[in-house]
């Protein structure tokens, strides 16, 4: 699908009203919730959201739900398997004419990065193997946010978390979930950010249209875990893209395309200095960590530019 084919050509084309209702117990300024709002606006109400344990499990707390579609909480490890059961049952009900075609629903998995990069990775890989027709939304807040931001497979190198309180922060490296999922050959795969709603809308529009496993990784600034004031959530989302820390890209038909290549990238310090979790990087003796981060980002985009030039 080309942009010219998209229903979302300019900001005015985006839905004006959120279908996920207000008044949830999610933290103020949650970038994950913003992305989920925007995603559901595109998907519409005919959805079954299959949830893995995480922050968003608190969206539906008895007897309230902000969803206009259905909801199934599963466990931390197996939301994609729950989606498999729901999809298989819907297919069976359609095949045996127990439900009409217009009663079919879009099956959506909603998990955090803790589930996606770790405990739920096997179930996700299995769902991709089986070509499950579903949309997986991972809200990536780069840690186990719901339990107070411990380090997860999604935590970036050097970030302070409640299990990495040392002077150098988290010593591991952020797991490249996009590449891991890509190696499993899903039908569609994309990164999005709630701060880039047009790019997000086009990608969700595609994910909805494509049959088979579609996986979305949503950048999710977390005021309570990353330590910044809630009102800066969108600004941090924008800076993540403009510094090149969060590449916006998609994968389909065996190819990765970057949907927004930041021209004149800002230095990563612009992004880092906004967040308490990176404050220690500006202490004397840690300058090398910032240098390494900048070098990693530069190397990434050099590689993107080279492959764009050679067409590979």
């Amino acid at each position: 699908m080309k942009i010219t084919d998209s229903a979302f050509k300019k900001p005015k084309d985006l839905p004006g009203l959120h279908i996920l209702s207000a008044g949830t117990s999610i933290c103020a300024g949650c970038g994950g919730l913003q992305a989920i709002h925007e995603i559901l606006d595109i998907l519409g109400p005919k959805t079954v959201t299959v949830n893995a344990a995480g922050c968003m499990s608190l969206l539906s707390v008895y007897p309230f739900t902000p969803f206009s579609g259905s909801w199934l909480y599963t466990a931390m490890a197996s939301a994609p398997a729950g989606a498999q059961g729901v999809r298989d049952a819907l297919d069976r009900l359609l095949a045996t004419k127990k439900i009409a075609a217009d009663e079919d629903m879009q099956v959506v998995v909603l998990s955090g990065d803790g589930s996606a990069t770790g405990i739920g990775l096997s179930a996700t890989s299995g769902a991709i193997d089986r070509r499950l027709d579903f949309i997986y939304i991972c809200y990536d807040n780069e840690g186990y946010g719901n339990t107070g931001q411990q380090s997860s497979g999604g935590t970036p190198h050097g970030a302070r978390t409640t299990t990495s309180r040392g002077e150098q922060g988290y010593c591991g490296h952020k797991k490249d979930l996009f590449s891991i999922w890509k190696a499993n050959h899903p039908a569609y795969l994309a990164t999005v950010s709630g701060a880039e709603p047009l790019d997000l809308a086009r990608k969700i529009e595609k994910a909805r249209a494509i049959k088979g496993p579609s996986l979305i990784i949503a950048f999710s600034p977390c005021p309570t875990g990353w330590h910044f004031p809630p009102q800066e959530s969108i600004e941090i989302g924008r800076l993540a893209v403009r510094t090149g820390v969060w590449p916006l890209k998609e994968y389909e038909d065996g190819k990765v395309v970057h949907t927004k290549i930041p021209a004149g990238r800002l230095p990563v310090t612009e992004y880092l200095q906004k967040q308490g979790r990176f404050a220690h990087l500006f202490h004397p003796g840690n300058a090398y960590l910032i240098k390494e981060m900048q070098a990693d980002v530069d190397a990434y985009w050099d590689c993107v530019e080279k492959s764009a030039a050679t067409g590979r």
């Binding site: 079954v48 579609g69 599963t74 398997a81 729950g82 729901v86 298989d88 049952a89 009900l93 095949a95």
Partner: protein, 413 residues
């Protein structure tokens, strides 16, 4: 009448086929695999109209099973031992989802050490989950229990998942004559699937398994499960009566064998109970007044039936094919707590543990158990638990240890 020689696994597959299942999420594990292979072949050849998906683990398999049942189709699945434990988080969760699916467990001892042959520590690890449990002792009973399990699970007064248990090898891989009910009769007995109030639909969205805040809501939902379990006792009775009328086979909550005039009773579950039946026959010939109680229904536990059947007996020997380390046989504690303080209850309820990991319980051991029980009754003393193991087995074990280079234990002077 269609009577065939079937393994317990194939009998289980026939149960699923006759019940008219819609969906089977599967994951292979010995000694259960033949069940899913059999159903898969029937689906592939068109003999059976259902859909099947091979999952990536038992945890995923059970999640898919619950997801499908919550969407409104009849679900069957099967596992064994380590698989049951791997999926245990979802075993507990599915009860809260109130999804009426049927899970067959083919019992096998738990690691470590890893083994393939049966005992009941796997299925009893699910005892407190809220799944109803039916325990089979023959291949016929496996098939019959699955048909009854769907009625029980889907009954509006119950609406809970049901686990049907059969022993690995002794039933799973053993051929026995099994009467395969007529398809139409079986379908009529089981009836069409009733999704009840648990069903995802585009026009009527529902939220399932949502979080609760606070113990009040949590306790309410948990107590509801307890009440449904309690109701399942009577519901089972109704279903068993209807089953007997349709198919001519009695499947009481507790199977009582030569128990009516007995002074002494064995109590066992599963396929090894058929060994106890042989022992009862032999002991009866030797002049003993002895019988056997075999609970088919373990959850809910048929306490009233047990009290009636045990009333007026001198003694009972509970033979557990499981071991709760640090306590003893699990059935023994269930039985004694049910009979405590009941007038006419046996004064001696002796505990024996045997058959772990498929270890045989020989006829001679049953005779010894009966003698121990009688002696305890004469003395009026509750004997300590006994772990069955013979001198010959110990010698064989010592030989293995010698090969494994384990120093021989010091002999007591």
């Amino acid at each position: 009448m269609n009577k065939q020689m079937l393994t317990g696994n194939v009998a289980a597959a026939w149960g699923a086929r006759l019940a008219g299942i819609d969906y089977l999420p599967a994951f292979p594990i010995s000694p259960q695999t033949e069940i899913i292979e059999t159903v898969a072949e029937w689906i592939d050849t068109g003999a059976m109209d259902a859909s099947m998906t091979t999952m990536d683990s038992e945890h995923s398999m059970l999640t898919a099973a619950g997801g499908a049942a919550a969407t409104g189709v009849r679900v069957f699945t099967a596992t064994s031992s380590q698989g049951l434990l791997y999926g245990m988080e979802m075993i507990y969760a599915l009860v809260g989802w109130r999804v009426p699916l049927v899970l067959v467990n083919v019992s096998r001892g738990l690691a470590a050490p890893i083994t393939l042959e049966p005992d009941h520590n796997d299925v009893l690890a699910a005892r407190d989950s809220g799944f109803l449990q039916l325990h089979c002792s023959t291949c016929q009973e496996v098939l019959d229990s699955i048909l009854m399990a769907y009625r029980l699970a889907e009954d509006r007064r119950v609406r809970l998942p049901v686990l049907v248990n059969l022993d690995g090898f002794y039933l799973s891989y053993t051929r026995e004559p099994v009467i395969i009910p007529d398809l139409e009769e079986a379908r009529q007995f089981v009836g069409p699937y009733d999704p009840g109030t648990v069903r995802f639909a585009a026009q009527a969205p529902v939220s399932e398994a949502v979080a609760v805040l606070g113990g009040e809501s949590y306790s309410y939902f948990r107590y509801e499960v307890q009440m449904a379990q309690a109701q399942a006792l009577a519901v089972y009775g109704e279903i068993a009566a209807e089953f007997a009328a349709c198919f001519g086979r009695e499947q009481a909550r507790i199977d009582a064998y030569r128990a009516e005039d007995a002074e002494y009773l064995f109590l066992m579950i599963g396929s090894f109970a058929t060994k106890a039946m042989d022992a009862v026959d032999q002991l009866r010939e030797a002049g003993w007044k002895i019988g056997l109680l075999r609970p088919r229904l373990l959850r809910p536990f048929p306490e009233q039936d047990l009290r009636q059947l045990a009333a007026g007996k001198k003694g009972m020997a509970v033979i557990d094919q499981n071991l709760s380390f640090g306590r003893g046989g699990i059935l023994h504690t269930e039985v004694t707590s049910s009979l405590y303080g009941q007038s006419g209850a046996p004064s001696v309820i002796a505990s024996f543990v045997g058959g772990l990991g498929g270890r045989d319980i020989a006829a001679e051991e049953f005779y010894q158990i009966a003698q121990d029980l009688r002696q305890a009754c004469v003395r009026g003393i509750q004997p300590p638990m006994r772990l069955l193991y013979t001198a010959a087995e110990l010698t064989a074990m010592r030989n293995l240890q010698a090969i494994a280079n384990v120093p021989a234990p010091e002999r007591k002077p």
